[in-house]
């Protein structure tokens, strides 16, 4: 089943208000049948008003650098709690073994989206992206390799 959903996103306080109208992409699901479902949005809430997060409708960095590879929604958070910033890749993320390899190699498109969202939020709230201590520890060991890999991808992974 092909399903398309139109969604209108309103950014309060930015000029005329209506900023983004997007058609959600679809992705193929496994299991043989030609089923498709919308990709899930990755979302952060930025503790700044929408007009600061996206002045004149311009996407914040580094999200803007992802260009047409992502869809983006910006909307005010309830209760005056800032701005909800959502994004998702236009291309489907690989699944199964291919997906695991892509994640380990840093090639899963969702990783770039998560990293960009986290960094955009940090830049808007604090003015910089906090760097991890470098070098992360005083030496590398074989036993620590999985943790080393996990921390290298830490901003691109997680539940975001």
């Amino acid at each position: 089943m092909n399903r398309t959903v139109s969604r209108v996103v309103v950014v309060a306080g930015v000029g005329a208000g209506v900023l983004v109208a997007r058609r959600m992409t679809t992705r193929q699901l496994g299991g043989g049948a030609a089923r498709v479902a919308p990709d899930r949005w990755h979302t952060v809430t930025v503790n700044r008003p929408p007009e600061e997060v996206a002045p004149a409708g311009r996407l914040p960095e580094p999200l803007a650098r992802l260009g047409d590879t992502v869809e983006v929604q910006i909307r005010p958070a309830p209760g005056g709690r800032g701005t909800e910033l959502a994004a998702r890749p236009r291309t489907s993320a690989p699944s199964g073994l291919r997906g695991a390899v892509a994640r380990a190699a840093g090639n899963d498109p969702r990783q770039a989206v998560r990293t960009a969202l986290r960094q955009a939020k940090q830049l808007a709230e604090t003015g910089e992206v906090l760097e991890p201590d470098t070098p992360p520890t005083s030496r590398r060991t074989l036993r620590n390799l999985p943790l080393e890999l996990a921390t290298r991808r830490a901003r691109g992974e997680g539940r975001l």
Binding site: T45, N47, R81, G82, R118, K121, Q122, E125, T126, G127, E128, V129, L130, E131, P132, D133, T134, P135, P136, T137, S138, R139, T141, R143, N144, L147, E148, A150, T151, R153, A154, R155, G156, E157, G158, R159, L160
Partner: protein, 391 residues
Amino acid sequence: MRALVWEGVNEVAVEQVSDPRIQNRQDAILRVKLSSVCGSDLHQLSGYIPFMRAGDVIGHEFMGEIVEVGPDVGRHQVGDRVVVCSVIACGRCWYCEQGLFSCCDNGNTNPAITESMWGYHPAGIFGYSHAMGGFKGSHAEYVRLPFADQIAFPIPDGVDDMTALFASDSAPTGWMGADLGGVQSGDVVAVWGCGAVGQMAARAAMLLGAERVIVIDRFDYRLEMAEREIGAEVVNYERTDVDAELRERTGGRGPDVCIEAIGMEAHTPGLTYRYEQAKQQLRLETDRPHALRQAILACRKAGTVFVLGVFAGMVDKFPMGAVMNKGLTLRSAQQHGERYIPMLLDRMARGELKTAHLATHPMSLDEGPRGYDLFKNKKDGCVRSVFQPSA
């Protein structure tokens, strides 16, 4: 520079590691004057926090002198004597604005690890594993301070270094337990654990108006210290039935507020301890919650249990029925230190909050392995080993 590093389970050593440097414009570099061990280090030391790498610098309770500032540091200058909160928080996200600094959205550079474990990531913490950002700890000659304007606090004249040291972690942690536990005038408060955090929680409860404060531990030297230095009533759980004792001392009601300051490696007499230890070592449960269970059962109806002790994962046989049917409030947090430190330093300056007695074993950084041995194995009356990296 020299630093005390985690080498593996129950193994620490003093090594040469690279000097920290300014990496962000809001960073500062601190020359560490004093750095204390903490009970929560022992969970890392024992291997119960599986996110350590050999060579990680540990330690998170510290004070010192600022020796370098990044271009966007506005509140501090080179030469300032400061105490630093163990929790790395940005001060500007929604959580920080609510005073919930240990829930900061921007202080942890490895968010995926704890998001996967706990749903959302907390703030970063110095020297506290890669799950908490992998920031190098304070048992070192120098340490990088991210968001320096937010996490470092000038020490008032008249407050000596050793007193101010404990404004970094144990005093604000203890204060938070009493404050967010809702201690009110006339309350009876029970505190499980008589280390530095437990003693600070007991003192905070008194300053917030509690009429009686009872601390529970098994080491007489710690109980005697709490009695002498804090003025708390004491219970040795190896010599009495804690539940019955608390019932008797509270007119049958139970304590209004119960503060758990022990965490995931709780000890208990008898077979229960062996059973829980075996389960923990087999990873059938990650945390031993005996003291927490006891606090929940002992607490009066509609009372509050505040968990200050560090837990990391899953506990077994959690008395949810007691929480629900007695109408308890259960709260917890890593410390929101930035919320309390200026006030605590003022109280220290006024002599209301004494902490220097906690530093039972000051020593050089080179004696670090001995300091942890004394602390972990409760030798020689050790409450806290405090390292002097600059000495």
